[in-house]
Symmetry: C2
DNA sequence: CTGAAAGCGCTTACAG
DNA sequence: CTGAAAGCGCTTACAG
């Protein structure tokens, strides 16, 4: 078996130096020699040892990608789109799941592999990422956070969720809705606060107030941000006397659960209630009627991320953190409509 | 900045050799010295260069994982479960998407990184993997294929889809169904043939024949294995005079689309028609009623794969390919029920 | 515990 | 085009 350039050179019948020069595209070689080496590479499948290459000072051309989880389709979609873009630009990428408490080990692994940069995709436990960013800084390794706004000192590319919510509530206001039920939009995370501020700005622009025009229920025991939680919320809201006419959810799953929940109680969507999700995943097409949602613009996010990332590689670290907001896109479908008279 | 063991040793005030011995857990060192080095590692975050380590002959302890796509949740779930198990066993893993025609480049990348083994997860284009397996063999690198049965010479861990279909159709036969509509189960791929043979064996055990007891429609123009395709199939079947009473689908998406399609035409599920999916994804809980499906046993698959994989690493290549079938689990829900009289 | 030395697989001048 | 040499960052005997 051919293990090294030396083995390979012997096999081709050339000097190690010559083979190496062909491999690295150096000038001053006869076309015939180049062809001979390339054909032998095809035949034997020889690949130079990446470890030795890098030891000699070659860039690893590798980016480490940390994802919060592989169970959330939007996170995975961003990782996939980013990996593809990076590959087009000649960079390999390694995807690892960052479990809470496990970030240190993953970052160490990436650092030992001398990655050119590290990307974080998702919403991570408070504080965990901030420590890792400091570690990366010590090693002069650039980073980029995708999705999570508000980490101090972090270079960030994230969806403008406030804007998304403002557009969505604006759309419902145009249909005449004046009372909004919030589904799963509770808590104090940055992501929720951004949505709330977006809802508020749309309401205020119409002379309404957040406190006056929204209702929120939180049956904590069932909380899970999934279909079932949406269903439970719909049942709870259906019992209220001043039931809102429009509902906006934290995500598409909750919205679809709520939509089914309302339908099971014989409420018609959108005639009796309008329901909207967030993220615009494939599942939005599943219910009848299709779910109005807010698209995350995943491809644009990945493109922006790749561009910013490659601009950082091999340069001195940024002194000012970069923050780029991605504009979401409202996608109206038939789950939202005019208020019934 | 500390770049090498030499830098680091200077920083700690010890000889390079001594530090290296601490790093590699060699005996004959004073506890005090060990503590000194470990504390300095904590403080500085120093990690030895993985490339140099490996050049000195250390295992890379790295497994390359090729996935067919990151858009199919079951594929991603298997990759995630496998990555986790491998990490528990001390192995890192690199996930790359194998686009059609791009497999050679990915395998080369993995080989240049001297991975200990390569895993393929999903259903790949015919022939593409077979070539890569030969390449891996040349490099004495073990492999494992997850999901796709029937690749010559491949070590395989895959769901017993025939068994899953047999169990599912058996369940419907017990409810009294005698005519079955197939949704998206067409074509000649191994995976489809396995399902068909499973359906057939359940039917034959009851004295029925496949040709006599199944109906298949294939509105090719709409074919996509998604919700919408399921909906289209349901509409087509609803127009037939001898409409089957039970429907089994290629996957959960098609089944849910069909379920909604039937409901939109005022057919009641399961009173008028029973509908079943395959894979038992989260979305099975989304429709009303919940979708009967067949669980892929993803954790068991990942565990089995990890075990087989680690048994191959660092040994001579197997001469006989290994094939392990995973038993699926029928998950009955309310989308299937007795035949209406 | 130290320090000099060899070697892992590669690349890159350099003299021939 | 060849061949000997140095060096990337590490580990591992070895003599002190």
């Amino acid at each position: 078996m051919i293990h090294s350039v030396a083995d390979f050179a012997r096999h081709v019948g050339l000097a190690r130096t010559t083979v190496s020069r062909v491999l690295n595209g150096q000038p001053g070689l006869r076309p015939k020699t180049i062809a001979r080496v390339q054909q032998a590479m095809e035949r034997t499948g020889f690949t130079p040892n990446a470890y030795a290459l890098h030891l000699k000072g070659k860039r690893t051309a590798t980016i480490g990608i940390c994802v919060e989880t592989l169970l959330t389709p939007t996170v995975v979609a961003k990782a996939a789109a980013l990996q593809r873009r990076l590959r087009e630009r000649g960079y390999g990428s390694l995807i690892e799941v960052l479990e809470p408490g496990g970030s240190r080990r993953v970052i160490r692994h990436f650092l030992s592999l001398r990655v050119d940069a590290v990307v974080f995709i998702g919403h991570f436990v408070d504080g965990e990422i901030a420590d890792r960013l400091r570690e990366l800084e010590t090693h002069a390794t650039p980073h980029l956070v995708i999705d999570q706004l508000g980490i101090p000192g972090a270079n960030t590319v994230a969806l403008d969720r406030a804007r998304g919510m403002r557009d969505l509530v604006g759309h419902l206001l145009k249909y005449g809705h004046r009372m909004f039920g919030l589904l799963g939009i509770t808590g104090t995370t940055r992501s929720v606060r951004d949505r709330v501020s977006g809802i508020e700005s749309a309401l205020v622009a119409r002379g309404l107030t957040f406190a006056g025009a929204t209702r929120s229920l939180d049956p904590l025991h069932a909380r899970a941000n999934d279909f079932e939680y949406g269903r439970v919320l719909a049942r709870s809201f259906a019992r209220e006397k001043d039931r809102p006419t429009a509902f906006v959810a934290l995500n598409d799953e909750i919205a679809i659960g709520a939509l089914h929940g309302f339908q099971e109680l014989r409420l018609r969507v959108p005639r009796d209630v309008s329901v909207a999700g967030f993220n615009n995943q494939d599942i939005c097409l599943m219910p009848t009627p299709g779910l109005t949602s807010v698209d995350q613009q995943i491809q644009l996010t990945a493109d922006t991320a790749a561009e910013q990332l490659l601009a950082m590689v091999g340069r001195p670290l940024r002194t000012q953190p970069l923050v780029r907001l991605i504009e979401p896109l409202l996608v109206p479908r038939d789950s939202t409509g005019p208020v019934a008279r």
